[in-house]
């Protein structure tokens, strides 16, 4: 026998199940009066700095059916590339931008939508700049452990080409699964980011 290490094991993940909305977005499933507003619905206020954008899309399973019971969380830097987190040591982020959002996929269509701002660039661990990106975390019934991925921007071709993280993707055609196409709706930049859990267009997911 050897000495025992003092570290603990992480609690094992379990699926969020079909009713995660009861806990995460109760008002959205008509459990009202417990708390006023579900967390994470609103990212941007009138004082928030940065270009207003909309992100929308769906999450598809291996039969190309959209998930109608998923929950998506996003986490992103502010317009200057700073995170609104005590762990951010490089400077003070925009106090009017939390950077975290949470939305269910629609129970009928499977659509999700975030109204946010376009983030600035943040450095990779060696100091090179990563391309602007938003971290996504997807949970649902049938997903045993939350899936991490990133959304990049189609109008950042040069930055995407230099991004050290995108550069680590071995099969180059898969880089496209992380790049949201820019369009316009009602005068607002709108990025469509569909997530494919499996199949030909399977999104690149990260072990972070």
């Amino acid at each position: 026998m050897v000495q025992k290490l003092t570290t603990l094991k992480e609690s094992p993940s379990q699926t969020a199940g079909p009713y995660i909305h009861i806990g995460a977005t109760p008002n959205w499933v008509e459990i009202t009066g417990v708390w006023e507003e579900d967390l994470g619905l609103v990212l941007v206020g009138s004082e928030t700095k940065g270009e207003r954008i909309i992100i929308k899309g769906r999450v598809f399973d291996g039969s190309r059916t959209p998930l109608k019971d998923a929950l998506i969380e996003i986490w992103q830097a502010d317009a200057d590339g700073l995170y609104n987190s005590p762990e951010e040591k490089r400077g003070k982020a925009d106090p009017n931008f939390v950077g975290w959002g949470r939305q269910p996929t629609d129970g009928v269509t499977g659509d999700y939508k975030f109204e946010t701002i376009k983030p600035g660039r943040v450095p990779y661990k060696d100091g090179r700049l990563m391309a602007p990106h938003i971290t996504f975390w997807i949970v649902a019934r049938g997903i045993n452990i939350g899936l991490h991925t990133r959304m990049y921007f189609s109008d950042e071709e040069a930055a995407n080409g230099q991004c050290p993280v995108l550069g680590r993707i071995e099969h180059k055609h898969r880089v496209q699964t992380l790049i949201a196409a820019r369009g316009e709706e009602n005068g607002l930049a709108t990025y469509t980011f569909d997530i494919h859990l499996q199949g030909e267009k399977e999104t690149v997911f990260f072990d972070i």
Partner: protein, 241 residues
């Protein structure tokens, strides 16, 4: 010594695999390509923090926070514990959210079709933030077991769902708490996605008679462990950590 480095690599053999055919819904919802390993960048080592001001006084009291005309039916229980990291240090300021079925095993959700009755006084959601020692607690009623469409006769053991935010997005975790002594734990296709028996036991809350409120509520202790960070001791400063 401070823990400022990247998080320890997640032990994927301790967690359920994505593809677990006994849990049928996982079959079409599991990525098939290997995950791309990414040593943490600042995007994963940061995360949102939630202030105590976001939390209302009844948010951690599921007996009262939805009740319209009296208390919900069921056995009154207290659930308490600590949120720790893998270095066994407390995680203060962690947002802990929980949701559950009522005493009959019925969720308050429009897509739920189980014939057990809805309890007019039970919503089934709550939340709290850990204190300086990483402690949390809430009051609720013990949820019932319920059948679910997987096999023709599969039942979930009584459980409470947990969602936990630590200090970094890399620590984000959703899991479930089970109850000591429940034989249904060992017959559940979702529980059995966890490969190791010791991993399952980590999710079984212990009945704590010492924390029980006499003539009021039984108590269960449930500690949650989030990922821990590497020390920067060996990375840049040999002294002064």
């Amino acid at each position: 010594m401070s823990d400022q480095g990247p998080f320890y690599q997640r032990d994927r053999s301790w967690h359920p695999a994505a593809f677990t055919p006994q849990y049928k819904t996982s079959v079409l919802r599991s990525p098939q390509y290997p995950l791309l390993s990414l040593d943490n960048t600042i995007s994963e080592m940061t995360g949102p923090r939630f202030g105590h001001n976001k939390i209302g006084p009844l948010d951690n009291d599921l007996i009262r926070n939805f009740a319209k005309a009296g208390d919900p039916i069921g056995q009154r229980i207290i659930v308490y514990g600590r949120v720790l990291d893998e270095n066994a240090r407390p995680v203060p300021g962690a947002l802990v959210e929980f949701w559950q079925a009522n005493a009959g095993g019925r969720y308050r959700h429009k897509k739920e079709t189980y014939l057990a009755a809805i309890d007019p006084n039970f919503g089934g959601c709550g939340r709290t933030i850990t204190d300086e020692e990483g402690r949390y607690w809430f009051r609720t009623i013990k949820p019932g077991a319920y059948p679910w469409p997987n096999g023709v006769n599969d039942w979930r053991p009584a459980h409470i769902h947990f969602s936990i935010f630590g200090h970094a997005f890399a620590q984000r975790l959703i899991t479930q708490m089970y109850f000591e002594g429940d034989p249904m734990i060992w017959q559940c296709p979702i529980v059995s996605t966890i490969p190791d028996k010791a991993g399952i036991e980590q999710l079984v809350a212990a009945l704590d008679r010492n924390a029980t409120l006499p003539m009021d509520a039984m108590a269960y202790k449930f500690d949650i462990v989030l990922r821990g960070r590497r020390s920067t001791m060996f990375e840049n400063r040999m002294e002064g950590n």
